[in-house]
């Protein structure tokens, strides 16, 4: 069981890294909008780029 003395500190170290990464992500605004990025993957489909907008735009 003495391997626990190594594994638990290792686990805590990884926890620390995870928390640090999370704080970094929050500070970078990664969590400000949780729904759009998920959808934008679906929506940016392979349709050919449409023609540039005409002058009057409608």
């Amino acid at each position: 069981m003495s391997v626990l003395f190594l594994l638990i500190p290792l686990g805590l170290l990884m926890l620390g890294i995870a928390v640090w990464a999370f704080f970094w992500a929050v500070a970078n605004g990664q969590f400000d909008d949780l729904s759009t990025p998920a959808l934008s993957v679906v929506m940016d489909d392979d349709a050919a780029p449409p023609a540039p907008r005409s002058e009057d735009g409608r």
């Binding site: 069981m1 626990l4 003395f5 638990i8 686990g11 805590l12 926890l15 995870a18 928390v19 999370f22 704080f23 929050v26 500070a27 969590f31 400000d32 909008d33 729904s35 759009t36 998920a38 959808l39 934008s40 679906v42 929506m43 489909d45 349709a47 050919a48 780029p49 449409p50 023609a51 540039p52 907008r53 005409s54 735009g57 409608r58």
Partner: protein, 823 residues
């Protein structure tokens, strides 16, 4: 009327509207030229995925300012105010009106990326803000705003000082606290399981000590970082001499942690790190959910000043100049054009304005203001134009006074809240006293066990389950409701919204669409079919700019009106293809043409009759009215089934309100009420012992929204109404109210179950703990299990949120706008 709905905005298409958007070669019906343009533009840019992914139909085009409207932002004063220039590039923050969901964000981003000069776009739907960066040498600010308006949004530049960073900071801090509590809490639970198992099956002393030290280490950030808001709240309670639930929470966290730490240092005794961690995690989680719901609602509810324009046209001598609103002073002359908002209280100097003062007075019909008449800031000019001399600006205006009225009404708290506070004030010291008394008694009986038993008592008595019972259910309800487009701002609504409550509806804009429509058209002449008549009417009314003209805001087609003359309160006359045409009241038409107007059978009650004709004949008779929302009747009926009593309170005229009440089957209705009259009505109902839930939309509703026991702002376009409402329904579905009622009933049931359980548990556990039968670990386990049970029960509310209430879309029935004849 065929229930055709607009491809873009899902509003019913007016009968005979000639608009079709060509999408993929198919013709899709759209309701107006604006929607047609937007739908075709979206398609032409290959963005039709928007229609598949959007969560709610786009807002209908109400006022589409022309491109020239945006060019005023190119004035150096305004550009300087909103735009931050860095070299060739410029940056600005713009609020995007009409952006509801992720699909909207996507649409905006894609549309803007097509502009080669726009470099960085970041759009946040939660705050409805876009940060734009563009090449200032190629594209003007006004041009950029026009490009946004072109895809159907309503951009509104924000001055850098007005960005609201406070909410974002709070959100990020709470998110970090929650994650630390969750991540560390799971570690602590894991170690605790090992310790509990060790307690049963035996464990090596060295490993046990190691696990306890590790638990201590991992719990430190939870207690010192994640739980900090609880200490702050407890301290605020102490300083205000009215300790809330946070005080025992803070004491239990601190005491359990300190005792556990002491036990760890001493190498013997029980530890309760797991209880501390789970406690903090559960409470942080519920507070986090509550905070998000609050932010989403607050965000739509910002300042009153938002109603006023950013820039005004000031007249100095012979020249017009565009200046920021702040620059306006008493005595200045301001030009007010059709569609513009009056920027300050003042007096008409010349010209004629048709002012929609519904924001301030609740009166739906615009009133004419000629030279010498007073005008109020916030009124919308629906027709005519003129010069206004500014009398009062800023905080001195009536609009600002309405805002202060609301603040005062808000400060007056409902009796339920006061009662709850009083109970809490007594309960919390009671908890502390019981724990202290137990400790004192045991200090005499068995000093060695005194601390342990006192702590066990505090942990058991600690109203965790009791504290969680309500907020957990409320948070679950808030998110369940938010998913259905019902944003809960204050929880008191759920208490009130249920059996026996009286629901007072405002009429205009709440039960009705809030704008005029052609409800019926009679066109007897075969040469003049309905579509042709509507196009001609549109051409004539384009010239007038009157409020009823909005019913005829269709495409004028081939017709061009010239030499238009508006006769206020009666109609419009203009030359079309060489013939003199008039549109307006029957009397006005008779002056031009002796022929009898077409008979109009079954004219919907209360509608305004509008005739169209030339010197030889009258070709069409229209019935114009404000239609009930399609789901109004079904919603009112369902509310009555649920045991709620609907009441209509409107500032509109009596026939219009009566027609609405009859159409909806509402027995009690009140018409012609001023905002103060509505407040008095609500107070009268409350004096009868009724619980009043107010449903409204406009600024004129705001005082009454605040006076009612609870309030809901629906179709919440108006920022101010949101600020006072207990819940906000941003969408246009009235039936969302039913979801609210259902979830409220479920929530109350769950809260009652939770409170009953928590009380029963505490009553059973306190004597056991106080008599020394419960070890602290049992108390902690019982407390955790009890809390878990309560939270799981609360989460049922979230799962309970069944599919959206299906709403029939019956024929919209016509309602009068008032008896005044059209322009």
């Amino acid at each position: 009327m065929k229930p055709l709905t607009c491809y873009h905005c899902a509003e019913p298409v007016p009968p005979g509207a000639p608009y079709r958007a060509t999408i993929d070669g198919r013709e899709e019906p759209v309701c107006c030229a604006g929607c047609q343009a937007v739908a075709e533009l979206i398609h032409a840019q290959g963005l039709e995925a928007y229609y598949r992914f959007r969560e709610a139909p786009s807002p209908a085009e109400v006022l589409r300012p022309e491109a020239s409207e945006w060019s005023r932002y190119d004035a150096p004063d305004l550009t300087h105010r909103y735009v931050l220039a860095t070299g060739d590039f410029a940056e600005a923050t713009v609020e995007i009106g009409g952006m509801y969901c992720s699909a909207c964000v996507w649409l905006l981003e894609r549309a803007l990326r097509r502009c080669p000069d726009v470099q960085v776009v970041s759009v946040n739907p939660a705050t409805r803000r876009a940060v734009l960066r563009w090449r200032a040498t190629e594209l003007s600010f006004g041009g950029l705003l026009a490009a946004i308006a072109e895809v159907g949004f309503r951009p509104r530049p924000l001055a850098p000082g007005r960005r609201e960073d406070a909410a974002e900071g709070e959100y990020r801090r709470a998110l970090k606290r929650l994650l630390v509590a969750a991540a560390a809490g799971m570690q602590v639970m894991m170690f605790s399981f090992a310790l509990y198992a060790g307690g049963w099956f035996g464990i090596e002393a060295g490993i046990e000590q190691f696990l306890r030290w590790t638990s201590l280490l991992v719990t430190v950030p939870i207690v010192t970082y994640s739980a900090r808001p609880f200490y702050a709240a407890a301290w605020r309670g102490i300083r205000a001499a009215s300790p809330g639930m946070d005080l025992p929470v803070a004491i239990a966290i601190t005491a359990a942690f300190l005792a556990s730490a002491r036990a760890t240092l001493a190498g013997s005794g029980e530890v309760w790190f797991d209880s501390v961690a789970m406690f903090v995690l559960f409470l942080s989680g519920t507070r986090f959910l509550e905070m998000r719901a609050r932010h989403r609602a607050d965000d739509q509810a910002t300042a009153l000043a938002r109603l006023l324009p950013d820039s005004v046209t000031r007249v100095r001598g012979e020249t017009d100049e565009t200046v920021p609103l702040d620059a306006l002073e008493a005595g200045d002359l301001v030009r007010v054009r059709p569609g513009e908002v009056v920027p300050a209280d003042g007096e008409v100097v010349s010209g004629m304005l048709a002012l929609d003062e519904s924001l301030l007075t609740g009166e739906a019909m615009p009133c004419s203001r000629a030279a010498g008449a007073p005008v109020l800031a916030g009124s919308v000019n629906r027709g005519g134009s003129g010069l206004v001399r500014v009398v009062r600006t800023g905080a001195e205006t009536t609009l600002a006074a309405v805002g202060r009225l609301i603040e005062r009404a808000k400060a007056d708290r409902p009796p339920v809240a006061v009662l709850a506070d009083r109970i809490a004030r007594r309960f919390v010291p009671g908890v502390l006293l019981v724990a202290l008394a137990t400790g004192a008694v045991w200090l005499k009986l068995d000093p060695g066990r005194a601390f342990e038993i006192a702590l066990a008592t505090l942990v058991v008595t600690c109203p965790c389950a009791l504290a969680l019972a309500t907020p957990a259910a409320l948070a679950a309800a808030a998110s369940a409701l938010a998913r259905r487009g019902f944003l809960l701002v204050r929880a008191r609504l759920l208490d009130v919204l249920g059996h026996g409550a009286t629901v007072v509806f405002d009429k205009t804009g709440t039960l009705t669409e809030g704008r005029p429509r052609v409800v019926q058209a009679t066109c007897p002449d075969p040469d003049w079919p309905q579509a042709r008549c509507l196009a001609l009417a549109a051409a004539l009314e384009k010239a007038s700019g009157h409020v009823l003209a909005r019913a005829f805001d269709g495409d004028p087609g081939p017709f061009r009106a010239s030499e238009a003359q508006v006769e206020c309160g009666r109609g419009v006359e203009a030359l079309v293809d060489g013939a003199r045409w008039r549109i307006g009241s029957a009397a006005y038409l008779t002056e031009l043409c002796a022929a009898p107007p077409p008979a109009q059978d079954g004219m919907p009650e209360g509608c305004t009759r509008v005739l169209l004709g030339n010197e030889e004949r009258v070709v069409a008779a229209f019935a114009v009215g404000d239609e009930l929302r399609a789901d109004a009747a079904a919603t009112v009926a369902a509310l009555e089934d649920a045991g709620l009593k609907p009441v209509i309170a409107s500032g509109d005229r009596e026939p219009a309100v009566r027609a609405a009440a009859v159409a909806l089957g509402v027995e009690e209705w009140h018409s012609g009420l001023t905002p103060a009259g509505k407040v008095a009505l609500v107070e009268r109902l409350q004096a009868r012992g009724e619980t009043v839930v107010m449903v409204g939309d406009g600024v004129n509703d705001a005082p009454v929204l605040a006076a009612a026991d609870a309030s809901i702002a629906i179709d919440a376009g108006t920022a101010l109404a949101c600020a006072t409402a207990d819940a906000i329904v941003p969408g246009r579905r009235l039936a969302t109210l039913l979801d609210g009622v259902r979830v409220a009933a479920m929530t109350r049931r769950v809260i009652r179950q939770n409170l009953a359980w928590a009380l029963a548990y505490n009553l059973a556990a306190v004597p056991l703990a106080a008599s020394g039968w419960l070890a602290p670990w049992m108390a902690a386990l019982g407390m955790s299990a009890s809390s878990l049970l309560v939270v799981m029960n609360a989460l049922r509310v979230y799962r309970h949120a069944a599919p959206a209430t299906p709403v029939r879309r019956p024929h919209g029935r016509a309602l009068p706008l008032g008896s005044e004849s059209p322009a």
